[in-house]
């Protein structure tokens, strides 16, 4: 039996050891790509990922655990909040200009 449908949600956190942003995948592993995140579309699924988040936090595998809302698009899940989109895609700027310049000089 399915519980009430909700806005699709995913569970996100940062890895304890290196702080890299991660999302909870379908088989319970933490993935560095939002595309591979488990999509919780119903209340019971949301409750399940929330519980998984609490467990992972208590196990000291991740920190800063949050359930976020996403929109399902053709190119994959897209968070509603800009903050979460930037967490998923990285800084919106060309942030290591000099190494980029080195590459272009080499080319």
């Amino acid at each position: 039996m399915k519980t009430t449908q909700t806005k699709t949600k995913v569970l996100t956190a940062n890895r304890l050891t290196d702080g890299i942003s991660v999302w909870l995948g379908a088989s319970g592993e933490w993935t560095t790509s939002l595309k591979d995140a488990f999509l919780a579309r119903h209340e019971d699924a949301v409750a399940a990922i929330e519980a998984a988040g609490q467990t992972a936090l208590a196990d000291n595998r991740v920190v800063d655990v949050n359930v976020i809302e996403i929109e399902e698009t053709e190119s994959g899940p897209r968070p509603y909040r800009l903050r979460e989109r930037i967490r998923a895609d990285g800084p919106t700027i060309d942030y290591a200009p000099a190494s980029a310049a080195r590459v272009s000089q080499a080319a």
Binding site: I20, N60, L82, P91, P97, A98, S99
Partner: protein, 556 residues
């Protein structure tokens, strides 16, 4: 500059071991994130959007080439090849792993650096005038006093769990290049009528969500009383500062709510008990610390005068750079050089590992091995002979470090904003880049003249927007970025807090709005000699608001 003695080396090593132990306990799960957070913060480790962030202290902004090379090495080895110099004379790394922190701190300790108290509710890295020890207008070098404060405040047992962070700035001249009036304590070195050295003491300045300028509570504090008086301030604040609301916990709120007269009376009463105690500074200690900061022996290089004139004539680009980025040194044959970290369209304050290495090399070759970090997110070589300016300029050009825009509209301060920061509401860096590109033409910038734009990605005001001639504050409205503009702020000896113009601007409108403001200034100034801030103070916000919003009210 200051050199660690055995005590300092042993202390920092012990601190690295202490934090390594804490990291190990965290990684093994012995301590929870809640317990670990204050510990990591006191060692400069934050958690940001994408990764951990490490903030390394550059005490009073002074470093040598060996230290700069180490910063480059850390950027390359443990990060993604770059670092971000901040308004608090620190450097931030955006991608280090928690498990690497002990190794990074160990490497820093090798060059007498650390990340102690670069975050947390303690006394933070003490900042000072970046032209200290070189400026022609200086009464005394502020760095020895900043160093004494740095030592005394390190792992202070009484003041490590204050109501909120605590920032102290020291300046050595009337010209305030350390923004002392927006610090929790601002100290201005001065001489009294007897010619003795001491400080004017200001407290309760700050930015954040409630910008307040500091109040002067003492016109002259003898230098010997620096630590006892600071202790009195800290103790009164620690006991009485608000702890019920973190937005009201800074000393500025205590000053505001208690009243400056009463609070300074409490501080004086506390000080009466401390003043003749063990914190009184012996003259010999002050002299010993001062000796570390003795200026380098600068040989006469009078040939530079003639050469400089000739170079300027033959190379307009060089002449322009000298005009903007070179300031008079107290030695007539020397100059202070600002290395802009604000390339047109670049990321304010970012430097690649290669650029850091380049600056280190140039400091050795041309600048007596000294480098400064400014609160405007640039670097400074404080002691360069006029006769070396041209080769230095050529070298900076090759490394993309010769942008001639110090103090101009493209010399923008910007915080990391939503591209990195977990607290941000909006992005700061792309905003800075767009403005920089719009006004990047050297002729246009020169025509506009001195103008400070400062951008923060949220109300915490790390980008100093309250004291920008033009301040930009990112907010979130209905899930989208929106930017408020304020005008008339200033962080120098004529400090003022900017006033918000009116409704905010969407990202696509913002740069146009800035252009409207600049055009309004150009149309209203009495001449090129009247700077933006002078003009604003004369004509007020009216004409600017009219230009920004009038078409709207007509349409409405």
């Amino acid at each position: 500059m200051y050199r660690y003695d055995e005590f300092d080396h042993a202390f920092v090593e012990a601190r690295v071991n202490q934090f390594s132990d804490q990291v190990a306990r965290r990684l093994s799960g012995e301590i929870s994130e809640d317990a670990f957070k204050p510990l990591r913060l006191m060692n400069g480790v934050y958690l940001q959007l994408h990764a951990y962030m490490l903030r390394v202290a550059i005490p009073y902004g002074t470093l040598n080439s060996r230290q700069m090379r180490k910063l480059a090495h850390i950027a390359r080895t443990y990060d993604r090849g770059y670092g971000h110099f901040t308004t608090r004379q620190n450097i931030q790394y955006n991608w280090p792993a928690l498990s690497d922190m002990p190794a990074i701190l160990k490497e820093l300790a090798e060059v007498e650096m650390h990340a102690i108290q670069t975050s947390g509710n303690c006394i933070r890295n003490v900042t000072a005038d970046h032209f200290a020890g070189a400026a022609a207008d200086e009464i005394a070098d502020p760095r020895p006093y900043a160093e004494i404060l740095r030592q005394w405040s390190s792992v202070h047992p009484e003041f490590s769990f204050l109501p909120r962070k605590f920032k102290i700035a020291v300046t050595g001249s009337e010209r305030d290049r350390a923004a002392i009036q927006v610090h929790d304590i601002g100290l201005q070195l001065k001489k009294n009528d007897q010619g003795e050295l001491g400080f004017a003491v200001w407290i309760g300045g700050g930015q954040g969500r409630t910008p307040i300028l500091a109040k002067k509570i003492r016109d002259f504090l003898p230098e010997a009383d620096l630590l006892s008086y600071t202790t009195a301030i800290m103790r009164v604040y620690n006991l009485h500062g608000r702890r019920d609301n973190k937005y009201k916990a800074r000393i500025k709120i205590l000053v505001h709510e208690t009243g400056v007269e009463q609070l300074s009376a409490e501080i004086e009463a506390e000080w009466a008990h401390l003043k003749d105690g063990e914190l009184k500074l012996p003259g010999a200690d002050i002299a010993a610390i001062n000796a570390y900061f003795a200026p380098p022996a600068l040989a006469p290089r009078a040939e530079g005068w003639g050469e400089l004139a000739a170079w300027k004539k033959s190379d307009p680009g060089f002449a322009e750079w000298v005009g903007r980025n070179v300031a008079p040194h107290r030695h007539p044959d020397y100059a202070m050089v600002t290395i802009s970290l604000k390339p047109i369209g670049g990321i304010p304050g970012d430097a690649s590992a290669d650029q850091m290495d380049a600056v280190a090399r140039l400091a050795e070759e041309f600048a007596h091995d000294e480098i400064r970090v400014t609160h405007e997110q640039n670097l400074v070589l404080p002691h360069v002979a006029l006769a070396d300016l041209e080769p230095l300029y050529r070298a900076l050009l090759t490394d993309g470090l010769a942008t001639a825009n110090a103090g101009l509209i493209t010399d923008i301060i910007a915080c990391p904003g939503l591209d990195y920061c977990a607290l941000a509401n909006a992005r700061s860096i792309p905003v800075a880049q767009e403005i920089s590109n719009r006004f990047g033409d050297p002729k246009r910038q020169a025509e506009i003249g001195d103008l400070k734009i400062k951008i923060s990605g949220c109300i915490n005001a790390c980008g100093h927007h309250h004291v920008g001639h033009i301040g930009i504050l990112g907010v979130e409205k209905k899930g989208a970025e929106l930017y408020q503009i304020s005008l008339g702020g200033s962080g120098d000896e004529h400090a003022s807090i900017g006033q918000i113009t009116g409704r905010g601007f969407e990202p696509g409108e913002l740069t146009d709005a800035i252009e409207t403001i600049v055009d309004t200034y150009l149309a209203n100034r009495t001449g090129a000699a009247e700077t933006f801030i002078e003009c604003y103070r004369r004509i007020g916000a009216g004409p600017f608001k009219a230009a920004l919003y009038n078409s709207e009210s007509e349409a409405a």
